[in-house]
Amino acid sequence: MPEYVIERRQTQVCVTLGGDLTAAIVPGLQADLKGALGQGATDVEFDLAGATQLDSSGIGLLIAAANSARRLGGRLCVTRASADISQLLQSMRLASRLNVTGRADQEASRG
C-alpha cells in the first residue's frame, strides 16, 4: 500500500494512511490535502489503521486540517487509531478537537 490514499466521498475527503504519519511524509500529504479540501468538500477523515506512529509533525497536520475543515463549516475526525496514538492525543488534550475513535472503540461498536 502507498504511504497514503486520498479519496473524495461526496462532501468528505478520506485520507487512509498506509504507514506512519510522521515528519517525512507530512509536506507531501499537506500539499495533496490542500488540493482535495474545498470545492464542496468540508469534512476530513483520517483513517489511521495503518499507522503505528504519529509524531508532532503529524499532529500539526491533523490540527491544520481540522482548522481548515472548521473554516469551511465541516469537521475532522480520526478513526481506527491505535491505543498508543489515542492515548497520546488524549494527553495532548486533542482527542475531542480531533474527534478521535480508536480501533478498540470501533470493534466494540460493531459488536
Binding site: 510522521t22 517525512a24 506512529q53 508532532s56 499532529i59 500539526g60
Partner: protein, 146 residues
C-alpha cells in the same frame, strides 16, 4: 553452541535530513525487539523521533553537511536516549514542556518527550538532549538511578 546476547546499545550517525529519521528508528525498533521491549517501543521511538527531528530542523537548521548522532543504551530499568546535533543550541531553560493550545500546529516536541521520559537533561548550550525512559510502563515516575 552458545547463544549470543543482543547488543545493549546503539550508536547511529545520520545526515541532517528528515528522511533519515526512519532509518534510525528502524535500528532502534530492531534493538528493542531483540530485548523483548516491544511494549515500550511506541514511547521510546516517538520520543527519539521528536529529538531527531528537532536536531535536523532546529538544531542544524537544514545544513546539508551537518550530522545528527543518536546514542541509545538499555540499562537495568531505563532506556537512555541521547541525541546531539552540530548547531549552537537553544535556550532550553525557557522552553515550555507543556502542550500548546489546541489550535497551535507546532511546539509539541518537548511536551511529547516530557510525557514519556522520566527524566530529561540538556547539555549547557542545548545541542544535546538526554532522555531516560522506563523499560516498564508503570516505572515512569520512579527515580532514575542507573
Amino acid at each position: 553452541m552458545t547463544a549470543t546476547n543482543p547488543p545493549t546499545s546503539l550508536h547511529y550517525v545520520m545526515a541532517s535530513r528528515l528522511t533519515e529519521v526512519d532509518g534510525a528508528c528502524r535500528e532502534l525498533r530492531a534493538l528493542l525487539e531483540a530485548h523483548g521491549l516491544t511494549p515500550v517501543g511506541f514511547p521510546v521511538e516517538l520520543a527519539t523521533r521528536e529529538c531527531l527531528c528537532n536536531a535536523v530542523v532546529h538544531g542544524n537548521r537544514g545544513r546539508a553537511d551537518a550530522r545528527v548522532t543518536l546514542a541509545l543504551r538499555i540499562g537495568r530499568r531505563w532506556i537512555r536516549v541521547e541525541v546531539a546535533d552540530e548547531g549552537s543550541g537553544f535556550p532550553w531553560r525557557r522552553a515550555s514542556r507543556m502542550p500548546p493550545g489546541i489550535r497551535r500546529q507546532s511546539g509539541r516536541g518537548l511536551a511529547i518527550c516530557a510525557l514519556y521520559a522520566a527524566r530529561m537533561a540538556f547539555s549547557r548550550s542545548g545541542n544535546r538532549i538526554t532522555l531516560w525512559i522506563a523499560k516498564r510502563k508503570g516505572d515512569r515516575h520512579a527515580r532514575v538511578c542507573d
